[in-house]
Symmetry: C2
Subunit: 141 residues, 2 copies
């Protein structure tokens, strides 16, 4: 499901297989964050017989191709998402939801801030996870 998804893989120069296309489809069409197991469940619903190990291998290939980014949050297994730019993750300690800051230049700002404070160490990439309370949970009380 997704001419567009297949095209994205082709353009990256990686071999296109149904498994990879569906793994990518889950991430690209939802825009959300998923563990390998969640991706496996969703993609597997459309592609019976899909193995979890294949999902891991697909995610690695997609990551190498630059389409997918992975994050390690303060708790739980790794999560994967369609790569946009490098950005922080906000994990709500109440509902567990994962979101992103509004400002889309925040990644660059944080990188500049960190680099300025790290004399002698050239930071090229940053992994940021904030823990706190999201607006909805704060409103609920």
């Amino acid at each position: 499901m997704g001419e567009r998804n297949i095209k994205a893989l082709q353009e990256c120069g990686i071999r296109v297989t149904p498994q990879r296309a569906h793994v990518w489809g889950v991430l690209a069409e939802s825009g959300g964050h998923f563990t390998a197991e969640e991706i496996w469940e969703r993609a597997g619903a459309l592609l019976p017989g899909l193995e979890l190990s294949t999902v891991y291998r697909s995610l690695e290939a997609l990551g190498d191709a630059g389409l997918v980014a992975e994050s390690r949050l303060p708790e739980g297994p790794r999560v994967f998402e369609a790569r946009s730019s490098s950005h922080p993750h906000l994990v709500c300690v109440v509902c567990g939801g994962i979101s992103h800051p509004d400002a889309d230049d925040i990644g660059r700002r944080l990188l500049e801030t960190l680099n300025a404070a790290s004399e002698g160490f050239e930071v090229s990439e940053m992994h940021v996870a904030g823990r706190g309370v999201c607006a909805r949970c704060a409103a609920d009380g």
Copy 2:
């Protein structure tokens, strides 16, 4: 080994055992970052028979007491360290070494930066890991 270490545990109000004292000793006396297994090896050298599961349980107790902080770096198992203030980690992609930025207010600065960009989400705690090249490896060429 370490009246001082034992005192630190007592002051936190947690039960003092040789196991906890040695686990804490490894972190407090070195100031470095260690995986649970590394702590187990070091503490176990001084306390034969120490179990890895006990190290994990000790780390949890020390963490709850506020003495120890844990981090999840972009790769590898969790690392633990004596807690100072919340600060970023810098992982060198060449030598694998873990260090901290020079500026000691960087943790607060990053938190303010992130909070300002996250309207509606109250960030209380931040996990930051930068990847790049440390000064030594940059110099080596």
